[in-house]
Symmetry: C2
Subunit: 212 residues, 2 copies
């Protein structure tokens, strides 16, 4: 589908948003949409949207708009949402548990196959069919099981060390909730969710609004 | 401290990261740092960092580097982290509960004063001294109490309606975890944490790495 492999990360950031809004249109029973309608929903300009979708060979025809279901399907395919992913969560504290329980997570085909923690009180418990295992056995587990994505929800003091360990076992995709930037070798992709940074930006703009 | 009010949002996004790394240096007992050292830690270029800090009047002296503690203090002040904030969490499900329990949250002076939910099984319970109250009483609560920031962790079907209600009660800063973009009037700032979009981007890059 893609014309070339050089899609900017800004475009890739917008695709999940298109995907989500097309899902909403689909649930509302809407069959056809336009770059103008998508613009109103997403806040991106209509020309930006047309340009983004052109990156992938162009969907829809001038003047006829886009077919909601097939556009959503194609964007999903570009993102890889037509496949299944096995996910582990490292750190079964508040955030790890919330991610394991997060139902939004299950819209696409992500399966949490195991959690890992060092707390003996948690080891052996289950969250939605996924057992919390002893972190000391994570390498053994990864050698035996195929895992696509690791979610890191540990304290920041141990996240780098754990990331190195699992990357050595073949993990290539890390969703990092620990408040630290992981230093990883080439060939590993880290997606950070730094909650504090997000909250601090909000705080800045809040103070601006108050005129302080 | 700011030279003018027109600091780009990209700069504002980087400040929390500087703040975090300066905190790490401080904890390690480091007193002086340089744009080069900060560059190695953050991944931004040294000239980018100097330019960013110049936006706010310039800290440090050419050739002498930056004083870690005072630079952190000044960035904290710019972000507004020298003040106290009262926070409510709307939706006491998995994510809401995790946010209420999230200790990283408490590095700066944010106090969760109440949660709100419609689930009778949750109403009356407490998380870290914050009571979960009936969502039907949220307007009453907001009229009586001063609240700075509202965290929305509700299902997406109700987030817009709830946001409108609390904004009508004077809330100006929303940290939104519901997977939907809120349409808010001028004078309200919304910071989105869309977990699904983050996971979908990760999925895209994971597939790229695998060559699929």
């Amino acid at each position: 589908m893609e014309k070339n492999g050089k899609i900017s990360s800004a475009v890739i950031r917008r695709l999940p948003k298109y995907y989500r809004y097309l899902g909403e249109l689909k649930r509302m029973g809407v069959n056809k949409t336009s770059s103008r309608e998508l613009s109103e929903m997403t806040g991106f300009s209509a020309s930006q949207i047309r340009q983004d979708l052109n990156n992938f060979g162009g969907f829809g025809q001038q003047g006829f708009g886009y077919d909601v279901e097939s556009l959503r399907f194609e964007i999903g395919k570009i993102l890889g949402l037509d496949k299944k992913y096995k996910v582990i969560i490292v750190g079964a504290g508040n955030i790890g548990e919330a991610i394991a329980n997060y139902t939004g997570f299950y819209e696409a085909d992500y399966e949490v196959v195991s959690l890992f923690d060092k707390n003996p009180k948690l080891i052996g418990l289950s969250i939605r069919n996924a057992v919390i295992r002893d972190i000391d056995y994570i390498e053994e587990y990864l050698k035996a099981e195929k895992v696509d994505i690791a979610v890191i929800c540990t304290p920041k003091s141990v996240c780098q060390q754990i990331a190195e360990k699992i990357v050595a076992c073949g993990i290539k995709a890390i969703w990092n909730f620990a408040p630290k930037d992981l230093k990883m070798p080439e060939g590993v992709y880290v997606e950070n969710v730094h909650l504090n940074e997000s909250l601090f930006s909000l705080t800045y703009y809040y103070n601006k609004l108050k005129g302080e």
